[in-house]
């Protein structure tokens, strides 16, 4: 997303919304995440029970019994796909973080603008979200504050937690970094947190995709594939167009 969207052919309302590197890392991440979710369930089916602490096994009391069938035959491909996709996600994520910091994408597009943090503005955003009312006009050219919070939490809380809890289950990594066990309260606690945080990410994905439909699936998908976004014209009722006071 550029700060000053430039008008492009064929119409003045079509703007360059997402940079090529954002689109590329977005879709690589999407493919890797879907592969991780599917293979993660395949791995989970070998023992669909969650424990707290260091140890846990069939015959020991579980913190949570998931209503899933037990299947021991999906572990092999599940693990191979999980770690292939994990490498794609991690390497892609590192590239994204570096370019986003250095190139100013974070400061420009993801950190909420000062006007967006005003209580009146936030209240209006919440009300608009509740009525499934997408932003129009100039407001549609920046992420709204709730969207920015969601992206920042996913980027800096949920994905790091996934990677760290995943590594805590690795006997090879924890041999070098036993601190990981202390961080999460043991291997089984890390496994449980890995599942719970993954569930939050799936929840994010569901809301994210739903918002694409609310905001106009054709326009938003084109923006994330080709980069070009058609700005929805302003309505007479000026919903989210207060001028930034800065």
């Amino acid at each position: 997303m550029s700060r000053a969207p430039r008008a492009e052919e064929p119409g003045p309302s079509l703007v360059h919304r997402h940079a090529a590197w954002v689109r590329l890392t977005h879709w690589l991440n999407a493919v890797a995440f879907l592969a991780l979710a599917v293979s993660g369930v395949a791995i989970l089916l070998a023992l669909p029970r969650l424990f707290w602490g260091e140890t846990g096994a069939n015959g020991a009391p579980a913190a949570l019994d998931l209503p899933l069938p037990v299947n021991l035959e999906q572990t092999g491909w599940g693990r191979n796909l999980h770690f292939l996709a994990a490498w794609v996600l991690v390497l892609n994520g590192i590239v994204y973080l570096i370019v986003a910091f250095v190139g100013g994408h974070f400061a420009r597009d993801l950190v909420p603008d000062r006007d967006q943090l005003a209580p009146r503005h936030l209240a209006r955003e919440i009300a608009d979200h509740a009525r499934l009312k997408p932003a129009r006009g100039r407001e549609a050219l920046r992420y709204n504050a709730l969207q920015k919070f969601a992206y920042l939490v996913v980027l800096f809380v949920l994905f790091p937690l996934m990677v760290l809890t995943g590594l805590t289950m690795s006997p090879g990594v924890t041999a070098a970094y036993p601190e990981l066990f202390a961080l999460f309260g043991g291997r089984q606690s890390a496994r449980t947190l890995h599942f719970l945080v993954a569930s939050l990410l799936v929840l994010f994905l569901v809301v994210h995709v739903a918002q694409v439909f609310v905001g106009g699936a054709g326009n938003l998908m084109r923006a994330m594939i080709t980069g070009r976004f058609r700005v929805p014209p302003e309505t007479t009722r000026k919903t989210l167009t207060e001028t930034p006071d800065a």
């Binding site: 260091e54 191979n80 090879g172 924890t174």
Partner: protein
């Protein structure tokens, strides 16, 4: 140049680190990069070897941490006539042949092994199915046994065979690690049959499937591509990576 540095390192300190790094490219994790999974599993192997470059020990627990529930999977009582006969007489006729690239090949009885230096370690066992349990293991370090028979400088891998037909291989980085032991005792008593009596391997920095039960033979070799389908282990032919550090 690679050969020169290899010779220098091996004849010099004979350090575990040198052996591990040099074994690297010939290791089954890196020698066969045919599919995307081979690449991602190879990357995992290379990164974990780097993380473990100072040969850390895994955590060890006190006796109070030993799990009440420690599952046994796959073979729990080998259906082999010789094994059954030996079991009936308390494994008094059991012998462990050590062969291959060693100066003094031999066969060791259970009492031979018990007369060697003993190591007891209470560690977390992590299974690829998702469960983990803490158990205490008593046995002789594999490094000691290999020193007894005189490992030749050309040896790079240790192939371990099991009564039930399983086999696996280990590079010297893991084989010579202080916590890699041939265990004949568990939780203060004899090793139970279900856990691999009379002797099982413990490879603590990898998943449970690398800790072979019912050890029936040890062979030091330069390469492992001549064994089975050339993938370094039996489970690798079933889709589970040779290196199981995660």
């Amino acid at each position: 140049m690679r050969d020169l540095s290899r010779r220098r390192l091996l004849t010099g300190s004979g350090s575990l680190i040198g052996a591990g790094l040099l074994g690297g490219c010939e290791a089954p994790a890196l020698s066969r990069l045919a599919s995307p999974y081979d690449w991602s599993n190879g990357l995992t192997f290379a990164v974990q070897r780097w993380l473990q470059r100072h040969q850390p020990l895994v955590r060890e627990f006190g006796p109070e941490s030993i799990s009440a529930v420690f599952p046994t999977i796959n073979t729990t009582d080998p259906d082999d006539p010789d094994y059954r006969r030996s079991k009936a007489i308390g494994f008094s006729d059991w012998r462990l042949p050590v062969s291959g690239l060693v100066d003094r090949p031999g066969a060791f009885s259970l009492s031979d092994l018990k007369a060697m230096p003993t190591r007891t370690q209470i560690t977390l066992h992590s299974c690829e199915q998702g469960w983990s349990a803490i158990g205490g293991w008593t046995g002789v370090p594999l490094a000691h046994l290999l020193a007894q028979v005189g490992l030749k400088p050309a040896a790079r891998f240790i192939v371990v065979r099991s009564v039930d037909g399983w086999w696996d291989s280990y590079d010297l980085f893991d084989a010579l690690h202080p916590q890699t032991i041939l265990a004949y005792g568990m939780n203060g008593g004899d090793l139970p049959v279900a856990h691999g009596a009379p002797v099982r391997l413990r490879v603590e920095r990898q998943l449970g499937y690398k800790s072979l039960k019912y050890v029936s033979g040890i062979e030091a070799v330069e390469r492992v591509d001549g064994f089975g389908k050339g993938r370094g282990s039996m489970v690798a032919e079933l889709g589970f990576p040779w290196y199981a550090g995660i």
